[in-house]
Symmetry: C2
Subunit: 391 residues, 2 copies
């Protein structure tokens, strides 16, 4: 692997000088910028049969051979259509940010169903976690294969019976494709392939929209670590989940949340909450009266405690107290506790260095100065799918 | 029954003139005020054996005979102690307001366990829904009897094997007795029998306390129907449940609630809420993408609907919209919808005539002018049991 690394780094330097990022999955590899096109340069070890392949990428040449020898020129155009459709509806690519359909998966679907339009027609009958596509017929028992791979969609790799080509596909991307397919078949039009981009709200419209919703938008802003986008989005989604849990654990109710990054400078987590503040009083349920040890501990803790508003008293068969809540303001909670959330390590480091928490219209300045973010936030606040129009 | 009614009404008139209320359970009966003592005058039909008894009250003479012939003078004192204890901790009486231990039940417990102190000692080992007391040994199989009556405590009536004497006892009253018994045995003192009454907060302290909690107290005030207290409390509890459901159905979060009445003029429902207002935006989850008929209805309803803020979009495998909430203010909800709640009929009539909804410190005026209510509300806000002191 050290050899591979040396080779790929030298190669990258020859092509683009120092405009590349080292990355590491199973293998070392390189992400580079070639005349504005982002390219992953991934080395692999040549093996004479799939059984000798040591890592996932060593499988790639076999995929190439399989597709080249099975896909006619006609089918290649069908594949281009499917990829264009997938891209237009936001489902193309197996990368962490999208969790969609990989190029190879699109090729196999066209191979299996025979045409772009047949892939769409068939997808309408897909059911998540019970759809199996096994081109080479490796598995006699569909149940067994589905159970083995346990994924929304299972497509057995024709060159490797132990791999699900759709392993990276999320339930959401699969569902989006199913729905878009149905709409496209009912009224086919170009908007599926070339969605019009949304016109961002003006700063005033943004403020108006926030008022109209009556919710509380909390923005957590930090800086973006210099790292390959795969790793970045893995860490962002993990951190989003961790923050969600932290906020919910302290009883703040999340309506919706998301994370945005330009993958260069900025990361912005968004939490839309029912309320940014909670009452001080909180009901806390203790043990049933007849579990004597637990009752003893509970009463020792809360009898004469200064944080008790009301009780201890018995409700149904349990001891209950009404106590003072630790955090009544989500901004205070976050500023004191954010690093205790389950975060990606890189995001944790970023937040240690810089963590700005603002709410509602305080975002206006950043919003107005960043076109990508303003498009994103407009979509977050008001978006639906461009292809989704009244039947 | 018409005969019974005539007789009992004439009797009541002889004793107290017109100071009585007619009531009706299985039989007609009368509630009267005899020199400040509230008395239920309940007629029954004399029968020669329990099998001929036609209604529950016809059983009473048999109870009297059973107790008189089994309870020694010593045990009578023990019964008085138990009833005093029950009364002191607020568990005495099978009436709807208390749902506690009836006089007859106290007598049977002393008979069975042999003394006041033994009742307390034994109660510590009671477990709700699995405690059976069968003095006459009617049931060989405890499991069977417990299943048959399915109540927190099952005490088979010695004069009628088909009746649970503790049928009216709530889980809460039973649990309260178990806990108070434990505390009494650990440190016996008179406060169990003669609890000190709580000193009500001053108006200023009340306002301070409400602020300190940060919750929203909503008071629904109506007039009290002229009706027997049994019927009144039945209707009050049913109405409380109905109002609770109405408020929760519209997403307002209830921390605690209760109902108070002087049983003469006033009824006051109290709801302590996390928030009296909610954001306008609300997440609404629709069908999975692959249930096509439901999806069609859902999209027809929400696509281009003016109440949609965001979406329709797909989350996991479901269509979701973020829509405008119908009621963002609980007072508006109640003033428009209160009569749609499941209410007792009499309470519904009262609310039709008069329904005042106020919040937080708006209660101060009524609070200051009504001593009973101020004691009650102080207890509601800050109360615990007088007998509950640090071990």
């Amino acid at each position: 692997k050290e050899d591979l690394k040396g080779t790929i780094l030298r190669l990258a330097e020859c092509i683009v000088g120092d405009k590349f990022i080292e990355a590491y999955a199973e293998h070392p590899y390189v992400e580079l910028d070639y005349h504005g096109v982002k390219i992953d340069l991934v080395p692999c070890i040549k093996s004479s049969s799939i059984d000798e392949a040591k890592t996932a990428v060593d499988r790639t040449p076999f995929h190439t051979i399989y597709i080249k020898s099975n896909l006619s020129d006609n089918l290649k155009d069908e594949v281009r259509l499917l990829k264009g459709f997938m891209k237009g509806i936001g489902c193309y690519g197996a990368e962490t940010k999208i969790k969609g359909f990989s190029g190879y998966l699109c090729e196999l679907l066209v191979l299996y169903y025979g045409s772009f339009i047949n892939v769409l027609r068939s997808s309408i009958n897909w059911k998540p976690y019970s759809t199996l596509i096994d081109i080479e017929g490796y598995y006699k028992d569909a149940e067994e294969a589905l159970k083995l791979f346990n994924a929304p969609l299972v497509v057995i790799d024709p060159v490797d019976r132990n791999r699900n080509v759709a392993a990276a596909l999320s339930l959401e991307s699969m569902s989006k494709f199913i729905s878009a397919s149905k709409f496209f078949l009912e009224s086919p039009n170009l908007s599926f392939f070339q969605p019009k981009s949304i016109k961002p709200l003006s700063a005033n419209e943004l403020i108006e929209e926030i008022k109209r919703r009556g919710s509380n938008l909390i923005f957590i802003i930090t800086k973006c670590p210099k790292v390959h986008s795969e790793i970045l989005w893995g860490q962002l989604y993990r951190s989003l989940k961790g923050l969600k849990k932290l906020i919910s654990n302290f009883d703040f109710k999340i309506i919706n949340c998301d994370v945005w990054s330009d993958e260069k400078e900025l990361i912005i987590f968004i939490f839309e909450l029912e309320n940014a503040t909670l009452p001080s009083i909180k009901r806390h349920v203790g043990p049933p009266v007849y579990i004597q040890n637990e009752v003893k501990n509970f009463l020792n803790k809360y009898l004469n405690s200064p944080i008790v508003f009301l009780g201890p008293k018995i409700e149904d068969c349990r001891w209950v107290v009404y106590i003072k809540r630790k955090y009544i303001d989500v901004k205070q909670l976050l500023s004191e506790k954010i690093l205790t959330a389950r975060l990606g390590d890189l995001i944790k480091s970023s937040l240690k260095e810089r963590c700005v928490i603002i709410e509602n219209e305080e975002i206006t300045k950043l919003y107005s100065s960043n076109n990508d973010f303003s498009i994103y936030l407009t979509n977050y606040l008001k978006g639906t799918y461009p292809w989704l129009t009244k039947e």
